[in-house]
């Protein structure tokens, strides 16, 4: 199982990044939607703290993933894929990368403007982006955070839909090579 991606499929490290970040994003969405409904109790404070810690984790993983992704090649698109689909896929992928950077950043920004603590899993403090309470930027950061989340949900519907369409309708290996890597018969490195 090659660590690096090849023209036939995604390498193990990129797949690990993909699925780990995907799982954390799903957890974040659920936590984020649930926590704002909670009454003010210590449990709510802890769920918020967890949401913040996972968010900062995603931010760090996405930065590492981008650095890694830039260092390796992209597998070839299926030969039958028309240019508009390649373009659409590239556009959605680029937008997803931007969103999964911008959403944790806007959350960090909102937390900073709220002058709320941010201690990564209780281990170390994350510095403020605003240098203290900022009542002007606080609601703006929250609006950005929430709006981009719903844009992400919409793009994820497209992304997952396209992956399933490739797998079940096109019967190509687009989904397969992200789940288990390149097919053995297609060769690797």
């Amino acid at each position: 199982m090659p660590l690096r991606s090849t023209e036939a499929g995604w390498g193990a490290l990129l797949r690990a990044f993909h699925w780990l970040i995907a799982a954390l994003i799903i957890a974040q969405g659920i936590l984020g939607l649930a926590m704002v409904q909670m009454g003010l109790t210590p449990a709510k404070v802890r769920v918020f703290a967890l949401h913040k810690s996972i968010g900062m984790t995603i931010l760090g993983l996405v930065l590492l993933r981008i650095a890694w992704r830039l260092s390796e090649r992209r597998p070839l698109d299926p030969a039958a894929m028309p240019p508009w689909q390649r373009l659409a896929a590239r556009g959605v992928h680029l937008a997803l990368y931007l969103l999964i950077l911008a959403i944790p950043l806007s959350g960090w920004w909102f937390n900073s403007a709220s002058n709320a603590p941010l201690v990564w899993f209780g281990l170390f403090g994350v510095p403020s982006l605003t240098g203290g309470y900022d009542p002007v930027w606080k609601p703006r950061a929250l609006l950005v955070h929430q709006t981009l989340f719903w844009v992400l949900v919409a793009l994820l519907v497209a992304h997952v839909g396209a992956a399933l369409w490739h797998h079940f309708r096109q019967r190509d290996d687009v989904l397969h090579r992200m789940v288990v890597g390149p097919r053995a018969d297609k060769g690797g490195e």
């Binding site: 002058n115 603590p117 201690v119 403090g125």
Partner: protein, 192 residues
């Protein structure tokens, strides 16, 4: 001898050399602060009470007649986080609707062997009165002075955030209160 005693009594009655009757310092509210430090989720933060009234009778050379009397408008709480302030004023914490003011009054002043001045007093906060000792640092400068007082309290002693909020890893029990007052309009006696 008898005569002299009489004069001294008269002098005392008239208020000469009677520091208890000295006029108190005036507090320059704009340059004075009443702040506190506590932790939230183990992160230190500082809050302030923006409005308080302090009556300060203080002459470092006449501690026997010194007196501080401070009344704090609890609703003037500002921790630079509007949501936190709102929560802190609620019934689980300061309960400002029921207890809008805190009051501190000294009972006696003493000097420690290393020359520090301590003021013992009673703090009434959220309807609970407890003894609190202030560490007093006083620096006169001409007709003005700065007064810095520090006290260490436990929020749970005063029932602030009990029950589900008692966990000190969520909200620290220890609170350091620091008052910084700019004073003018009184005088310090020269005697040492």
């Amino acid at each position: 001898m008898k005569h002299a005693l009489g004069w001294m009594c008269l002098a005392a009655l008239l208020g000469f050399a009677a520091p208890a009757l000295a006029k108190p310092w005036q507090v320059d509210a704009a340059r004075s602060t009443l702040a506190f430090t506590n932790t939230y989720q183990n992160v230190s933060y500082t809050g302030q009470f923006r409005r308080f009234r302090a009556t300060i009778d203080y002459d470092p050379n006449d501690l026997a007649h010194a007196k501080f009397d401070v009344s704090v408008d609890i609703t003037s709480l500002d921790t630079q986080n509007a949501e936190r302030d709102h929560t802190a004023l609620g019934a689980d914490f300061f309960d400002a609707a029921k207890f809008p003011r805190a009051h501190f009054v000294t009972t006696s002043f003493r000097k420690t062997s290393d020359g520090k001045v301590l003021a013992d007093g009673t703090l009434t906060l959220r309807g609970i009165s407890k003894p609190v000792t202030l560490d007093v640092r006083f620096s006169p400068e001409g007709g003005t002075a700065t007064l810095d007082v520090t006290a260490r309290l436990k929020r749970l002693d005063f029932g602030i955030g009990t029950g589900q909020w008692a966990d000190p890893s969520m909200i620290g029990d220890d609170v350091t209160v620091h008052g910084h007052l700019q004073l003018r309009g009184a005088a310090v006696t020269s005697g040492k």
